[in-house]
């Protein structure tokens, strides 16, 4: 690895650590939580926060992961293995009620009337009127229950005020002006809280350089071509069998293959006369 890359890496990490230290100055440890998907970004993020905790001699805040019901088994394995290795008491969040209603089977229909009170109320909140919906990554209702509601419940029950996220500016054009700290007002969908993204200034290339430089663990799916890992049914590999870091990161969009493209594609398809 070149001298420039190593020097850049030192700067990037130092900046991230500054953000983390600032966070710990402003928020009580017990009111912080770290989100971890098992992906390359959130693993890097977790690693940096851990370092600061060691340096400051403070315990690591609660680490949480959300099981949306459609995870790659490789990611689940990775989370289990690394949480053991790093001695992390990982909290798994999941909308079990919803999984029960579809027998955890992707594609199965969920009848709204079978869901528990909280879930039904949440569907009313998003003005969902149908009697059922399919359990799949693309389903808006399903997504709301499996992801948003689960996170909200956690925030409420744990009284968490600060969430560590692993967003990066270069992931979306719209993120160019993003700040490290974003405050979320109490909305009709979630309680008031703040989110901090310590690795905001890392690019996709920086993440991989950092991973290799410090020998960080990563999910084996990245080695066989996946650049971005979300729900299994909405993630596609970029170039099959070429490791993520060897692909054309600068010219081919990272998430070509994820839900972010879906809205755009749907809109164009509508204008082409479909749907």
């Amino acid at each position: 690895m070149s001298k420039e890359t190593k020097e850049r890496n030192v700067e990037l990490i130092e900046k991230s650590k500054e953000v983390v230290r600032e966070t710990f100055k402003k928020y009580e440890l017990a009111k912080c939580a770290i989100t971890w998907t098992g992906g390359k970004d959130s693993t890097t993020n977790l690693w940096i926060v851990r370092q600061v905790c060691v340096e400051e001699n403070i315990p690591l805040p609660q680490v949480i992961t959300i099981d949306e019901g459609d995870a790659f088994p490789e990611i689940t394995d990775f989370l289990v293995t690394i949480s053991k290795k790093w001695h992390i008491d990982l909290k798994w969040l999941c909308n079990f009620d919803m999984l029960k209603c579809c027998q955890s089977h992707l594609g199965n229909d969920i009848q709204v009337k079978d869901l528990d009170e909280r879930n039904q109320a949440e569907l009313k909140r998003i003005e969902f009127e149908f009697k059922s919906f399919p359990f799949e990554a693309e389903s808006y209702a399903g997504n709301h229950l499996m992801k948003t509601v689960v996170l909200n419940k956690f925030l409420e029950q744990s009284k968490t005020e600060l969430l560590f996220m692993a967003l990066r500016r270069d992931e979306q054009a719209a993120r160019k002006e993003d700040e490290y700290f974003t405050h979320h007002e109490a909305g009709y969908l979630m309680p008031e809280h703040t989110r901090v993204s310590p690795i905001l200034h890392f690019t996709e290339r920086d993440i991989w350089d950092n991973t290799h430089l410090h020998n960080l663990p990563y999910c084996p799916l990245y080695k066989i071509g996946y650049r971005s890992l979300g729900a299994r049914s909405s993630s596609n590999p970029g170039v099959v069998s070429v490791p993520a870091w060897e692909q054309d990161l600068e010219n081919v969009p990272e998430r070509a293959g994820r839900r972010q493209d879906k809205e755009k594609a749907m809109e164009r398809l509508r204008k082409l006369g479909y749907m």
Partner: protein, 397 residues
């Protein structure tokens, strides 16, 4: 490979059209093998492209909207063999999100670029520009490896809003604004309203102008290949994914129907060193395209591919062709829509619709317009029913 979305076979001069809509494509004929009996595997993009790029049928892996990871794309096979693979297109159904970006060294699906409000795709000149950019840098290296370049044009597809220059070439008397053309799209095409025959004729003229415009983009494409010195070492396969209906069977656009206006494909293979055009009457399917590409690169046939290389022509096995799609009957596919299938052998084509378990059979030689349903009269019906059912059983999971 050059694929042109929604291009009907019968608009090409080399297939008999008298309106001079494709002068450039026609001019290529002395260097081409022209297939007169090529059929698509499906009447719309999602149903047809699995055939073209993966040599498999649309519903083989369930009713997925995406390209199943179980399919093998021709790009994946070529890439493994050290051939550079590049794709340039603007069809949202074939974008990275739907899983079609596998195996491509370069995959431009235009999702990262802005498109106009009325025309939701990058036009042929924009696509050509991307091809030009890529080839310009790729060919600078004198020892570049062989490449497979797939380019796809959307300019024939609805909403029919052709550029004025080409509308004038087709019918200068048509004086519609872009908004008026868009309105026709919304009020007539989307509603599949064939009640006014004059309007349908007008739509066909707009469509024809799109064809004329696309022919020019093809011309520019060949110029680019020539500019970078690659045309002389290239074979170019030109075809469509499906056609478009103009009230041949009481509808418009391209729904889940298996009639010739949607399924019959133009298929031309250009060889730079040919001096005499050739016509081939073999009944072939777009499922044979990927195997042909492997053959042209000197690669072994792939077991996962269902088709068979067209080339060499004499070795092509005589067999029936099959296709399947979801029988959507409006512009919106509903969850309750069921499959529709076709099977063709020689001149006979049988169609089966699962929704009402109905059958149709046509003799394409005597009844090319597919108006006389022979299913209850022909003594070949029983045999054809057996054959299509065996295809369906083989394929559906």
């Amino acid at each position: 490979m050059l694929t042109i979305d929604t291009l009907r076979k019968d608009v090409l001069g080399c297939y008999g059209n008298k309106n001079n809509l494709t002068p450039f494509l026609d001019s290529l004929q002395p260097k081409c093998i022209k297939f007169t009996n090529a059929q698509s595997t499906g009447p719309y993009t999602q149903a047809s492209f699995p055939g073209i790029l993966t040599s498999s049928y649309y519903l083989e892996y369930g009713r997925q909207k995406k390209c199943s990871p179980k399919r093998t794309l021709v790009s994946e096979v070529l890439k493994k063999s050290g051939i550079t693979t590049a794709a340039f297109h603007s069809n949202p159904y074939l974008c990275g999100y739907f899983g079609w970006n596998r195996g491509w060294d370069i995959f431009y699906d235009s999702m990262q670029d802005e498109v106009s409000d009325k025309i939701p795709y990058i036009k042929g000149d924009g696509i050509n520009h991307k091809v030009d950019q890529w080839l310009s840098s790729y060919s600078k290296n004198n020892n570049y490896s062989p490449f497979f370049l797939w380019t796809h044009y959307m300019d024939v597809h609805e909403p029919y809003i052709p550029t004025r220059e080409y509308l004038n070439k087709v019918d200068p008397s048509i004086n519609l604004s872009e908004d008026e053309m868009l309105n026709l799209f919304k009020e007539v095409i989307l509603k599949r309203d064939v009640s006014d025959k004059k309007t349908v004729k007008l739509l066909k003229k707009l469509y024809d102008a799109g064809v004329r415009e696309t022919d020019n983009y093809v011309k520019e494409f060949f110029k680019i290949l020539e500019k970078y010195g690659v045309l002389k070492d290239s074979v170019v396969i030109i075809t469509n994914d499906h056609g478009d209906e103009f009230d041949e069977h009481n509808g418009l656009s391209h729904d889940g129907k298996m009639y010739s206006e949607l399924i019959s494909s133009p298929l031309i293979i250009y060889f730079n060193d040919r001096t005499q055009g050739k016509t081939c009457d073999n009944l072939v399917s777009n499922i044979d395209i990927s195997p042909t590409i492997l053959y042209l690169f000197g690669l072994e046939p792939l077991g996962a591919f269902k088709g068979h290389s067209f080339l060499p022509l004499e070795k092509y096995p005589q067999k029936g062709v099959f296709g399947e799609a979801i029988n959507k009957t409006s512009n919106q596919e509903k969850e309750t829509d069921k499959p529709i299938y076709f099977y063709q052998e020689n001149d006979l084509k049988i169609i089966y619709r699962e929704a009402d378990q109905s059958w149709e059979m046509y003799n394409l030689n005597e009844d090319p317009q597919e108006l006389n349903n022979l299913i209850n009269i022909s003594d070949k019906s029983k045999d054809m029913k057996k054959k299509i059912m065996s295809q369906i059983k083989q394929i559906t999971i």
